[in-house]
């Protein structure tokens, strides 16, 4: 009954509004689901936890889905996760099958979203039940594992690890938190900033700076060029029929499952999911030569995988407190805002919120499908909204988000600028933002788990000998490092061969 009292028209209205706004953000090249969630987070202040999550989850699902529109119509991925959608989606548009490609992508997105939602519903509680037994040592090793996985999937292993550790280092600025067992002493803070940085940099202004302001600075550097318009793009043409999915069920399920699995790996992101699913489908296909020339199977693989990510990325967040990607990292901010801690105890202690989240995700997927199928021709026009109108509004919303997060602290607004510039610089010199963010979020917990383990046991060997889970985690850590070294060597060999 309590759940029913939460499922009000307002709840579903917020899911719908979030989904539509998310689709718009996703459809505009350069804007992402992460940005949508970051910019709209302050709106959830007065909504309460469940209603706030309804809006944010709608934004998440819509933001990931909207990216297929410019990918298919303009050959520009709206979000990084729709990069492989361009490979076959755009050739389909050139062949006069734009609407058909869009509807194939939308339907695949729905299937991917629903399969990953089922995985979330089944796995997250089980993983949380298992994780409740973890001591500080296992928790520390899980964070360590998360960082190695992220680094392993970065463009450069060394830079990925460096970025992750840099995030951890910056997160340690401020006092060693007394409320979590620290001694309350300040570290890494210049004297003139002690007043502002006692609690360290706030998470949300950091995220908004990295994903909002820095994106706009990167575009400003490039001259704010307007993208190509829709003139000359033929959306109509060959009609969409469900029969296109005949023989594609395995592709749909495999790609959705790949997306879900990649989502569960912390910090990996949607582009890896869609690239992996696309290459798998191409490998298994009887007609691999058709890929890249307008094969519907390519659009199906890419879109079902990137929407498969949505449920998957919530699994580690809700069961371990570790975000699966940068968007779910911002969702941590929504929980913090409402005074709720995510981790192994979350689902057990908040069953109503958990059920509400599942219903919101389900509704968001259905609304996304209906809105995009029924209004795809109108949504397609969104890709041509001028940046000179849109970006100033987003910058203003970034300021609102940063200022309101701690009930009106101007230093948080400056934090937004500092990390906006840092994000821009990171982009220029090739630092990896995803490992940085995860390192920043998990750094303080890693410190507590590490130092408290040493205080309790007095030996470093305890990290290897505490339990079989610890031993298993070390095996996984070694495997992920070995995997990344092998991939790096392969890349180097390929580059050497190309040079030769």
């Amino acid at each position: 009954m309590e759940l029913l009292s939460i499922l009000t028209p307002l709840f579903f209205g917020l899911v719908a509004a979030g989904t539509v706004i998310g689709i718009i953000f996703g459809a505009i090249p350069g804007m992402t689901a992460t940005m949508a969630v970051a910019v709209c987070l302050p709106l959830t202040y007065s909504l309460g936890l469940e209603n706030g999550l309804a809006l944010l989850l709608g934004l998440y699902v819509g933001g990931i889905s909207g990216g297929l529109v410019p990918a298919i119509l303009l050959n520009i991925p709206g979000t990084p996760s729709s990069i492989t959608t361009t490979l076959d989606g755009y050739p389909m548009t050139q062949n006069g099958e734009g609407e058909r490609a869009l509807k194939i992508g939308i339907t695949s997105s729905l299937v991917g979203g629903l399969i990953s939602l089922a995985a979330l519903y089944l796995f997250a509680p089980a993983l949380a039940d298992f994780a409740i037994k973890f001591s500080y040592i296992e928790k520390f090793l899980i964070i360590f594992f998360a960082l190695t996985v992220m680094a392993a999937l970065s463009n450069s292993l060394l830079v990925g690890i460096f970025s992750g550790f840099l995030g951890v280092f910056i997160s340690l600025i401020g006092a060693y938190d007394i409320s979590r067992g620290g001694n309350g002493e300040l570290r890494l803070v210049p004297e003139f900033l002690e007043y502002y940085l006692e609690g360290g940099f706030s998470l949300l202004p950091v995220l908004i700076g990295l994903f909002g302001l820095s994106t706009i600075l990167i575009d400003a550097e490039d001259g704010m060029k307007e993208g190509k318009g829709l003139s000359g793009v033929k959306i109509g043409g060959k009609p969409f029929k469900l029969s296109v999915f005949k023989g594609q069920i395995i592709n749909l399920i495999r790609s959705s499952s790949i997306g879900t699995f990649v989502g569960i790996l912390p910090g990996v992101g949607g582009s890896a999911a869609s690239i992996l699913a696309y290459s798998q489908e191409k490998n298994f296909s009887k007609n691999p030569e058709k890929f890249g020339k307008g094969a519907p199977a390519g659009v199906i693989a890419s879109e079902s995988a990137n929407n498969g990510l949505t449920g998957g990325a919530l699994v580690p967040l809700l069961s371990l407190g570790i975000p699966g990607d940068s968007t779910t990292a911002i969702l941590i901010g929504a929980f913090t805002l409402q005074g709720v801690q995510v981790g192994p105890l979350f689902i057990g202690n908040n069953p109503i919120t958990w059920d509400a989240m599942i219903i919101a995700m389900l509704a968001a997927n259905i609304i996304m499908f209906l809105v995009m199928v029924l209004a795809i021709r109108h949504i397609a026009k969104v890709v041509t909204v001028p940046k000179n109108i849109l970006f100033p509004i987003i910058l203003m919303m970034c300021v609102v988000g940063a200022y309101t997060i701690n009930y009106g602290v101007m230093f948080d607004v400056w934090t937004l600028l500092i990390f906006g510039l840092f994000g821009y610089l990171a982009h220029k010199i090739g630092l990896e933002i995803a490992p940085f963010i995860i390192g920043f979020i998990l750094g303080p917990s890693a410190e507590i788990y590490f130092v408290k383990s040493l205080e309790s046991f007095g030996t470093l060997s305890i990290f290897f000998t505490k339990s079989w889970i610890a031993a298993l985690l070390w095996v996984l850590i070694v495997l992920s490092i070995a995997f990344s070294v092998s991939v790096a060597r392969k890349k180097k060999r390929m580059a050497d061969n190309m040079d030769a």
Binding site: V159, F169, P392, V400, T404, L417
Partner: protein
């Protein structure tokens, strides 16, 4: 933290706040040196090429965005102090900020595009200020 034997450690609570930052700083230092060793030649080549930042970027729009944003951030609390607890610092500063940015980002300035920028600069802050400050009572500068 002191090492009694290769694996055994004693943690001094009064200095425990520096254990983890020190370890992370050492790891960062090692990683930084490793990156310099493995990529040093590429970095040197890029810098000596002369094509390094800020060459080739749109100076007007990039530095203009930063300058306008800094002015906006400095002005908001000052104006806010004149009208305390009303959110008017945000509202009154956002209008010129949005108009200036919109105009800066325009590639073809005509009466029509400037008019659209102006209307946008008036409507967007008004809507945000009204919803957040007036309806939801959320504090704004």
């Amino acid at each position: 933290m002191s090492f009694d034997s290769p694996f055994h450690v004693t943690v001094d609570f009064s200095t425990s706040h520096m254990i983890f930052p020190t370890i992370i700083a050492v790891i960062l230092g090692i990683l930084f040196i490793s990156i310099l060793i493995t990529r040093g030649s590429t970095i040197l080549a890029t810098v000596s090429n002369g094509n390094w930042w800020p060459a080739g970027i749109d100076h007007k729009r990039f530095f203009g965005t930063i300058a306008l944003t800094v002015i906006y951030f400095l002005a908001m609390p000052e104006v806010g102090d004149i009208f305390p607890n009303t959110g008017l610092g945000f509202y009154l500063c956002s209008i010129p900020y949005l108009f200036a940015l919109s105009t800066l980002y325009l590639h073809e300035r005509s009466r029509r595009t400037l008019m659209i920028a102006g209307v946008n600069a008036l409507i967007a802050p008004s809507v945000v200020w009204y919803i957040l400050s007036e309806l939801f009572n959320i504090s704004l500068p």
